[in-house]
């Protein structure tokens, strides 16, 4: 650990030392170019040098950007290591790494309904999230549009949303079990109801904030409602809708772990619970990382999607 940190420091220090000398090397070249613009040879040299310098500067900036997050992760590992050493029951980062290598060497094995590889567990969780979240999007985004567009609908929905939104995800699970009489649809139902609200609310806000000047364009042209929605409301509200989608996926991924702990079957949440019953703590920690990484990946994917639909005014 210590050795790695000091290496990084040395690298950072080196970069800092390199910068003034490089800048000094560049300045006279600039002067020469300014003094004799007609001579082509020094000019060409300068451009080549400048390109080289720019490349070096970009590399240094990239390294500097990487430094802080890498240090953060190392700090986390160090803290974990120290706590594990003091505690004795918690596996160290090294032991967890070894266990992870074993788990990921065969992620797609199947030994009966309750013993499957981590790959299957993650995939079935993702499937539940996908179905629950997809249904929520199908209901929530149009509902948000109506609530945002028509003040009456907005006032109608306000008490319902205020009342139901703060309810804990797991409070919905018994209702799902009662209605669907099976664990899997109940888990999907829980995902649905919890990921509904961010999409409804953000879409409604997005539709309400559409600038009056755009709506005036629609009004002076007397555009039909279908055009108002497709050409003005939808594009204007899209960034908000996508924020709602991102929040919803985050919520869905949070909720699925909890729901699966209660419903059982195959899934990353159930896997955590199962490994707890086996007292296999390294696997629980592996699951925590897997849940975190998958959540991060979902978020990153949707962020990428949102960027594609951004427009500048």
């Amino acid at each position: 650990m210590h050795a790695m940190t000091s290496t990084l420091n040395a690298r950072g220090g080196g970069a800092l030392l390199a910068s003034p000398s490089a800048a000094g090397g560049n300045a006279p070249a600039n002067d020469a170019a300014a003094a004799a613009p007609s001579r082509t040879a020094p000019m060409r040299l300068t451009t080549a040098e400048r390109a080289e310098e720019l490349k070096r500067r970009a590399l240094r900036a990239a390294l500097a950007r990487l430094l802080a997050p890498v240090l953060g992760i190392l700090l986390l590992l160090l803290a974990w290591h120290l706590v594990a050493r003091a505690n004795g029951q918690l596996p160290t980062p090294g032991a967890t790494w070894d266990a992870a290598m074993k788990v990921f060497s065969d992620p797609f094995y199947r030994k009966g309904p309750n013993d499957q590889g981590i790959g299957w567990n993650v995939l079935s969780s993702l499937e539940r999230v996908g179905i629950g979240f997809g249904l929520a999007a199908l209901v929530g985004i149009p509902a948000g549009f109506v609530i945002g567009r028509f003040a009456f609908a907005g006032r109608m929905a306000a008490p319902i949303i205020s009342l139901l939104r703060p309810v804990s995800p797991l409070a919905w699970l018994p209702i799902g079990l009662l209605v669907f009489k099976a664990a899997n649809p109940a888990a999907i139902w829980t995902i649905f109801i919890c990921s509904l609200w961010p999409m409804v609310i953000n879409t409604a806000v997005g539709v309400r904030q559409v600038p009056q000047e755009y709506l005036n364009v629609a009004r002076v042209l007397a555009l039909p409602e279908s055009k108002v929605v497709s050409r003005i409301l939808f594009p204007a509200a899209l960034p908000y809708v996508l924020t709602g989608v991102r929040l919803s996926v985050g919520v869905a991924w949070l909720v699925i772990v909890a729901a699966e702990m209660l419903t059982g079957g195959v899934g990353i949440g159930f896997w955590v619970w199962d490994e707890w019953n086996n007292l296999n703590v390294p696997h629980i920690i592996i699951a925590i990382f897997v849940i975190g990484i998958v959540g991060l990946a979902l978020e990153a994917m949707l962020l990428l999607l949102a960027r594609r639909f951004e427009y500048s005014r």
Binding site: E213, Y214, N216, V217, R219, V220, L221, A222, L223, P224, K227, R231, I232, P235, A236, Y311, S312, R313
Partner: protein, 268 residues
Amino acid sequence: MHAESRYLHIEGVGKSFPTRNGEFVALRDIDLDVARGEFVALIGHSGCGKSTLLNLIAGLLAPDAGLIILAGREVREPGPDRGMVFQGHSLLPWLTCFDNVYLAVERVFGGREPKARLAERTRAALELVGLAHAAHKRPAEISGGMKQRVGIARALAIEPKVLLLDEPFGALDALTRARLQDELMRIVAATGSTVLMVTHDVDEAVLLSDRIVMMTNGPAATIGEVLAVPLPRPRDRLEMAHDPVYLRCRERVLEFLYRKQTQLEATV
């Protein structure tokens, strides 16, 4: 009978807005007739309700009193028989210049004409404002003056009965403004449009208009004076600079705005 000289007929129009401290009377007793093909400027200090009057004609606001008749039909709501150019360009940022104009063209001619003809109309409108080359660009990629020209193209493309301009060049720099004023004169001459333009720029009003409607200060603003600008067209900005008629008109407007209306403000 008076179809041509009273193409746009405004009679006894008033407008109030409810505020926390009671009614705010923005406009009262507005009577105005605009002839077909006439260019009329509305000028006044800020807050005199000139934009409110334009919004009433556009149908974006409804008058509390009086009536507005355009080409024999009462104005009750917004409609594409009036082309509006907004103070901010109001282009939709997610559509290209072409699509911004096409949206309006499609709305007005979509039912009657094939798509190729609609695209042709859109291109013609962009060409009219000299922006055929920027058709595929989005509003964020063009300058403020170009945006305003797309706004004018959008308003003209629907062949409106009257063109309503709400301080269209107010946000532009002086050089761009001058160029767009010249261009607007050329376009209006070519299309024979009836134009009502809100402005607070005296030179702009005199240079462009056939008549200048000067409004008193608010609250409860109304028409103070109407000045005819008997200058022949086409008008050249450089020649106007020392044309006695131009200078006299300019003086009359300035006198109204800075002598009569400031005094009024002081007594209120």
